[in-house]
Symmetry: C2
């Protein structure tokens, strides 16, 4: 299967991409000629990872009949010092909130996403160090 | 340097990420429990690449005093058949439109981005095959 994204330049540093039929704008900061009208493109890599693994986890939890009150994903990434400045390391923190959550089931859902289903994790793991942890708030 | 993106689950398959201070929503298609209220997370990888290299190219062209009328970037990616379904190959097409464009300068700007500046390309190149071409419309 092939995916395609068309992106157009809209003056200064502004680029608009059509992603699965939705417009995603990207822009740079004023100090490098942009107007900060959208996110930095490189940082979208972190959102891509969070959304991919998040959708896996929430689907698996639904099948396991595990209900969470809230679910947040934090992705932190280290950038190399030298050009081309790229991410050399990412760490994902899965934060679940709920009553009497079954830790083993949460762990299983996250492991399944990271090991078996999440294609963004699979690609990034070939390019950098990728680690993750689970935190639970009752 | 460290970048951080916080993403929260907002029911069904909807996830909202805060990327450089801008909300980026992601969602799945109705057939897998979503409402298609935002792009698929994996496809954001393609927008990230287009925006990253696009900003490099337009900055370099500005320094070279090359003016383009329009600039579009198309990214096509092949997905593996097996889980975890990830991109094994990407191809970037840079499409420039303008009068009397200097092909060598356009080529130089694109090569500089791909070889030296674009951190998204640098990361993806470690994980998959990455190729690119330039097209010019007068």
């Amino acid at each position: 299967m092939t995916h395609k994204v068309e992106t157009s330049w809209n003056g200064n540093m502004r680029f608009d991409a059509m992603v699965s039929g939705h417009k995603v704008s990207m822009d740079a900061l004023p100090e490098v000629g942009g107007e900060n009208s959208g996110p930095r493109p490189k940082e979208l890599m972190l959102a891509s990872l969070a959304g991919c693994t998040g959708m896996d986890v929430i689907s698996i939890l639904r099948k396991m009949k595990v209900e969470v009150e809230s679910f947040n994903i934090s992705v932190e990434a280290d950038l190399t010092e030298e050009h081309p400045k790229h991410y050399s390391k990412m760490h994902v923190t899965y934060l679940f909130k709920g009553n009497n959550l079954d830790v083993e089931k949460l762990k299983k859902a996250v492991d399944l996403s990271q090991d078996k289903y999440c294609g963004v994790s699979a690609a990034y793991r070939k390019a950098m160090q990728l680690s993750y942890e689970i935190k639970i708030v009752e």
